[in-house]
């Protein structure tokens, strides 16, 4: 679930008839001072981060003057609080609280119903007073009645807020909303002092106006690579590409030896998690958790591999999924090999390619291994994730590298005389470098059947260029590899990655 920042969640509440304190968000200190000046009186400056320990980490501070507010804001902005970078502060009026309540919305996954929550003992530390929490299980199709809500909270005004909260949840596809505290003030106002709102990832497509940056539960501020990865995934519904960076956890090391950081590339959720566990049992510390599954095009998997290879400091590459995949494994092999052949990383790789087409996949990897500076090995469904993880550790610890240097040799510029666009990239041919035999091989290799030989017996599109771009070209890399098999560089497929150096 994508979590909205407090200031944005509160703005949504305000737009739906739930009162909030006077205030505004600022992205620089000067603006923060201006807002404080306009509000007048005492101010609270709140770091806009996703953390349950914000106050304890110093992310909520009071200011008596606008100058002080500006100073606090300048200290907070750019600072990290519990691993979360603060990029905005909320400048709110300071209020005098008489009483604190908790109201919330959640989905009870066991009962499979939405539920409203209420406690008359709100405020920080509510987790420890879970016993005070009362729950009203409701229907997703019928709004709860006023009588039901009043019996939950015992108060007409709060019942009205709960009803609005239910409506906000429905409108925003909320996974959870917490207003804590809902504060009764000295002046009689009942306002939402803080609010956490997270939105269902899967509803992102119909919640565009929420401007969700990354529809993922990352548990931290998105990193540069996570943002790059999400751009690739966001509007491409062909299979899934899940990417999260795992910070170097120095505290969790049980082994006397420091764990070895590796790039982890899973295929399929359950198999990926099992493989992640296998990696950790072998003292390999994944620097990322990646899952490419649901039959994604090779373009997506290739980009995933490129992003993994750009994580600094990784000493190995581990690809492992369920081990018995229904998808053809040579598609996966092509995508990863393309990334390796282009980047030529000087780290060993173990690819567990078990499932349909595993023998062809393994043969391919073995064929191209000799062109790479470090060992790359492929395994099949009879090889367990633990075996493969242990093998990778062995390769890394032996420091085994081929004699040839990992330095990229200057490539001759590719001369293209025929190009067409695909959904997310371009395919170029060098017709001059192709003879009748190689041209025919390329046409035959296309499983989508969108290529043909023209009058000069050179490969060209058999469909309209616009059709290829709309998706008739499935970005499978078959033509590029068919050509490589012949030792020729007459096909070049380019899948650019925005923002990746």
């Amino acid at each position: 679930m994508a979590q909205l920042h407090e200031y944005r969640a509160k703005r949504i509440l305000a737009g739906n008839g739930i009162e909030i304190p006077a205030g505004e968000a600022a992205f620089d200190a000067v603006k923060a001072g201006e807002i404080a000046r306009r509000l007048g009186g005492e101010i609270v400056v709140k770091a806009q981060i996703h953390s349950t320990s914000r106050a304890a980490a110093g992310g909520v501070r009071f200011a008596e003057t606008p100058v002080e507010a500006e100073k606090i804001a300048s200290e907070m902005l750019g600072q990290e609080f519990a691993g979360n970078l603060c990029e905005a502060v909320l400048i709110d009026e300071k209020v005098e609280i008489v009483r604190e309540f908790y109201v919330g919305f959640t989905v009870d996954t066991a009962l499979k119903r939405p539920a409203l929550l209420f406690s008359d003992a709100g405020g920080s530390g509510i987790e420890d007073r879970a016993g005070s929490l009362k729950k009203l299980v409701c229907s997703i199709r019928r709004e709860p009645t006023t009588a039901e809500l009043e019996s939950l909270c015992g108060d007409g005004r709060i019942a009205a807020i709960l009803k609005q909260l239910y409506r906000v949840a429905k409108k925003t596809d909320a996974r959870t909303i917490e207003i804590n505290p809902l504060a009764l003030l000295k002046d009689g106002r009942l306002i939402a002092l803080d609010c956490r709102l997270s939105v269902d990832d899967y509803a992102e497509y119909r919640q565009k106006e929420l401007g969700i940056e990354i529809a993922r539960e990352l548990g931290h501020t998105p990193t540069r690579l996570e943002k790059i990865a999400w751009e690739i995934e966001k509007d491409d519904f062909r299979g899934t590409f899940f990417f999260v960076e795992i910070p170097d956890d120095k505290t969790g090391v049980r082994d006397p030896q420091p764990a070895i950081r590796i790039g982890f590339h899973g295929a399929g959720g359950g198999g990926s998690m099992a493989s992640l566990d296998a990696a950790q049992r072998n003292n390999l510390a994944p620097a990322c958790y990646v899952d490419t599954s649901g039959n994604p095009p090779a373009s997506k998997v290739y980009r995933a591999a490129r992003i993994i290879l750009s994580i600094p400091g990784i000493r190995g590459y581990f690809l492992s999924g369920s081990g018995v995949a229904s998808q053809e494994q040579f598609g996966l092999a092509r995508a990863v090999l393309k990334a390796f052949l282009e980047i030529r990383p000087n780290i060993p790789a173990v690819l567990r390619l078990g499932g349909n087409g595993e023998d062809i996949a393994r043969e391919m990897v073995e064929r191209y291994a000799e062109y790479l500076p470090a060992p790359i090995e492929a395994y099949r469904k009879t090889d367990t994730a633990d075996f493969c993880a242990a093998r990778l550790r062995e390769l890394i610890e032996n420091g085994y590298c081929r004699a040839q240097s990992g330095v990229k040799t200057a490539e001759k510029a590719f001369e293209s005389d025929y190009t067409f666009r695909t959904r997310t990239g371009t395919v170029s041919f060098n017709h001059k470098a192709l003879n009748d035999f190689s041209a025919a091989k390329i046409v035959d290799a296309c499983p989508a059947g969108i290529l043909k030989l023209d009058a000069n017996r050179k490969p060209v599109l058999a469909v309209e260029a616009a059709e290829a771009e709309r998706g008739k070209c499935t970005e499978c890399l078959a033509c590029e590899f068919a050509c490589l098999e012949l030792g020729l560089k007459a096909v070049k497929i380019d899948f650019p990655i925005d923002g990746l150096a």
Partner: protein
């Protein structure tokens, strides 16, 4: 016997004219599933693989008689309408294959299913397979591979992971023991048929002797199974593997349901609870098969 699906159940495919629907309908037919037709709005009167296509589910039922199962191959945004259409036409069991179905849509599907007394598997399921009988969804891939990989026998498998459903089945069959049914319940936070319900079906199934549960962090399904074991509702041996031991709290690991929220659904919590009631927990996925073999062997010699 087996659960949920066998060669006699009459099945339709919603979205049968689509790219995925038509390919998968063919694979299911090849494997032996008794598919009698399908529907896609606006495509009534066409044929796919020799099967009649109707505009609506209601029409399919009117023309083909009582239908036992509908497999729905439509994109996520259209799943809710399709599922409710199937329930309202009186179909008692539906499989929802699509990934990324919004949570509120699933909640609505749940409420309608409850009201009409229907059940569903998924969403985000690769399906259900009763080896040598029939398959729903896309488990196993090509029919000939599926025939080679999976055989009939006494082990019931339920899993929250699609890939591990197939691999668990494959490895168990390699040891020479077969499978009654493999059910991938789906990886989402809210799903139709859950582990406790599937475990109940396996308990009542004469062919199933051992239950294998491939769980993972997040949610309470595994704990609910433990409750049933404790209450004596599940008496057949349960072998469980729980994925995500090394996962961090608050971070989602692929499956929407695989997230530790508010300290609940941790790996340790699930393992402790299951051990407490006598389930066998295997630490490494690769150990499941040996354990199942031992348990099945022991059971045989007792019986």
């Amino acid at each position: 016997m087996s659960i949920l699906i066998d060669e006699n159940k009459k099945v339709i495919v919603q979205g049968i004219t689509g790219r995925e629907g038509s390919v998968r309908a063919k694979l299911m037919l090849d494997y032996g599933t008794h598919i009698v037709g399908g529907c896609t709005p606006g495509r009534g009167g066409q044929e796919v693989h020799g099967l009649p296509v109707f505009d609506t589910v209601r029409e399919s039922v009117d023309q083909l008689g009582k239908i036992d199962v509908s497999v729905i191959f439509v994109p996520a945004p259209r799943v809710k309408a399709a599922a409710i259409e199937a329930f309202e036409a009186g179909i008692p069991l539906v499989a929802l294959i699509a990934d990324r179905v919004p949570l509120f849509d699933v909640l609505e599907i749940c409420e309608v299913a409850d009201e009409l007394g229907a059940k569903f598997v998924g969403p985000n399921t690769v399906g259900v397979m009763s080896p040598e009988k029939a398959v729903l969804g896309m488990m196993g891939g090509r029919a000939e591979t599926a025939r080679e990989w999976f055989h009939r026998g006494p082990v019931g498998i339920m899993s929250r992971s699609g890939g591990l459903s197939a691999s668990t089945g494959y490895y168990i069959c390699r040891t020479g023991i077969g499978i009654s049914t493999i059910c991938h319940v789906g990886g989402d936070a809210v799903i139709g048929l859950t582990f406790p319900e599937i475990a109940g079906l396996f308990e009542d199934d004469a062919e199933t002797e051992t239950i294998v549960m491939i769980g993972e962090i997040g949610g309470t399904q595994e704990e609910q199974v433990a409750d049933l074991i404790e209450a004596g509702r599940i008496t057949k041996p349960v072998v469980a593997y729980i994925g995500g031991k090394s996962a961090r709290a608050g971070t989602r690991y692929s499956h929407a349901g695989a997230i530790i929220e508010g300290g609940k659904g941790t790996w340790q919590g699930k393992v402790d609870r299951l051990r407490e009631v006598g389930a066998v927990i295997v630490d490494q996925f690769g150990d499941i098969f040996k354990t199942v073999q031992e348990i099945s062997g022991a059971r045989r010699s007792v019986v």
